[in-house]
């Protein structure tokens, strides 16, 4: 366990040594899986503490919702329209809907969600790691890589190391931001370059191609969904 954490810590600083150590390990896949689960669990637990502190220093959202509603109802535009019962009904429905979506969007503390992350974050990170690892392995092999799938997965598991930055969220109101995703990209590049002993150009291609595939698939699904929706709804009104 201690050795694994040391490996992740070293991997964070983009040294090739921990990645090479993982590649040459006898069970890189198992160690990778344990590392992903450990990091995710630690981040989720720490996040729960931070969220709980934030929740304890934030007013009740229901009260905030009521105050905002009272304020809106005092505004001239609302008073002009409130005589229309249809407007009042629609506004009330929309307002409830907004308050289900917006607090979460603006980072209002949600303890239930933070607690659920103890389960969902390890699962989510493991899924992303496996999916990315599989695609990256495929491209690395196509680009001349020689190592096996378990070596690729072991090395790319070390690329979860930047998630350790999220441990700072132990303190509430700390915003880690986009640095984790960018750093993960760099770690993945070093992982693939070291694992398959690729040149920098090939390693860069192997790192980025899974992202491109993901973007293409998402765009395709979105277009397909849009076309299906157009067929269903457009078809119904074309007569």
């Amino acid at each position: 366990m201690k050795a694994l954490i040391r490996l992740a810590w070293e991997a964070l600083f983009l040294s090739e040594v921990p990645y090479a150590e993982m590649r040459d390990d006898s069970t890189p896949l198992v160690r990778g899986l344990v590392l992903v689960a450990l990091v995710a669990l630690a981040v989720a637990l720490v996040g729960l503490v931070g969220t709980a502190l934030e929740w304890a220093t934030t007013p009740n959202m229901r009260d905030v919702q009521q105050i905002v509603l009272d304020g809106i109802q005092q505004m001239p535009w609302y008073q002009e329209l409130q005589s229309d019962p249809e407007f009042r009904e629609m506004f009330s429905q929309q307002y409830e809907l907004w308050w289900r979506v917006f607090p979460a969007l603006f980072g209002a503390p949600d303890i239930t969600n933070a607690a659920l992350k103890i389960v969902t974050l390890p699962l989510g990170l493991a899924f992303v790691w496996l999916l990315y690892g599989l695609l990256a392995h495929l491209f690395a092999r196509l680009l001349g890589g020689q190592e096996g799938l378990s070596q690729t997965l072991g090395c790319t598991a070390l690329a979860v190391a930047p998630q350790l930055l999220n441990l700072a969220t132990f303190l509430p109101y700390v915003a880690v931001g986009s640095v984790v995703s960018t750093w993960t990209l760099l770690c993945r590049y070093v992982a693939l370059k070291t694992c398959h002993r690729l040149t920098w150009g090939r390693a860069l291609a192997a790192t980025l191609l899974p992202y491109i595939v993901f973007l293409v698939v998402v765009s395709f699904i979105t277009c397909l969904g849009g076309a299906a929706a157009a067929l269903i709804f457009g078809g119904g009104t074309s007569q």
Binding site: T57, P59, I67, P172, V179
Partner: protein, 248 residues
């Protein structure tokens, strides 16, 4: 700590040996990051103290309301000035003032709501959170831009590893210790500008050292991503403009 300060001093004075010794170390990225985080936190300390002092004083709601009212009046005055240049619908200023007053009132009512932990604890945690977020914000900006610089440097024949390049370019943060005076009117922004230009010069020097580049080539690697970004933004603007014109 002493070593880090020596490194920062050497970087600030563009001493060749400071750069060469730094990039030759195995822990170049760790040292670079430590310097970047340290400088960012030190630069934010004064603001943190100012904020904490302000937040721990008993709140004078009356004074806050007067301050808010003054801001609204200033905004209304600026709207009146704008009226000379832009056509505004009748009653626009009155409506805007009413909305701003209603918004301020909502804000004051929310601030009065009770919290589970006492209000000062919440304010301290908020200030600390904002303070500790500073390094992450700087890291995100630096690493996001560095990615593109690294790519250009590689295309120009750079031989440094990823950790060497990042560790070297992190030195750019050293002059940003001047940001400690960022809250001072007029002087703060001026020092910020000095720190930015100084930081860019250090960035170029570090890139040249780590890649064995000439200063000119390092400057190209530093500037090209920004130029490409500007060019793409202009292109995007042009496309939007053309589409708007075609669409009528």
């Amino acid at each position: 700590m002493k070593e880090l300060l020596q490194l920062a001093w050497g970087a600030l004075l563009f001493r060749d040996e400071a750069y060469a010794q730094h990039v030759a170390r195995a822990d170049v990225l760790k040292r670079g990051l430590a310097l970047l985080v340290l400088v960012t936190l030190l630069a934010g300390v004064v603001s943190l103290i100012v904020n904490l002092t302000g937040d721990l004083r008993p709140m004078d709601t009356g004074a806050q309301r007067r301050e808010a009212e003054q801001s609204i009046q200033e905004f209304t005055r600026s709207l009146r000035t704008l009226r000379q240049y832009f056509d505004m619908p009748p009653g626009f200023e009155r409506q805007m003032t009413a909305y701003m007053q209603a918004g301020t009132e909502i804000g004051f009512h929310i601030a009065e709501l009770p919290t589970r932990l006492s209000k000062p604890v919440g304010r301290i945690l908020r200030d600390l959170g904002a303070f500790l977020s500073l390094p992450f914000s700087r890291l995100a900006g630096w690493i996001g831009y560095a990615l593109w610089v690294l790519l250009v440097a590689k295309l120009l024949g750079g031989r440094a590893t990823l950790s060497q390049m990042l560790g070297a370019t992190a030195l750019y943060a050293a002059p940003h210790i001047l940001d400690v005076l960022g809250f001072v009117d007029c002087l703060g922004p001026m020092l910020g500008l000095v720190a930015t230009v100084w930081g860019i010069a250090i960035y170029v020097k570090a890139l040249a050292t780590v890649n064995n580049f000439s200063v000119g080539r390092a400057a190209v690697a530093t500037v090209v991503p920004a130029l490409v970004g500007v060019a793409l933004a202009l292109l995007g603007l042009l496309v939007v403009l053309v589409l708007a014109l075609v669409g009528g």
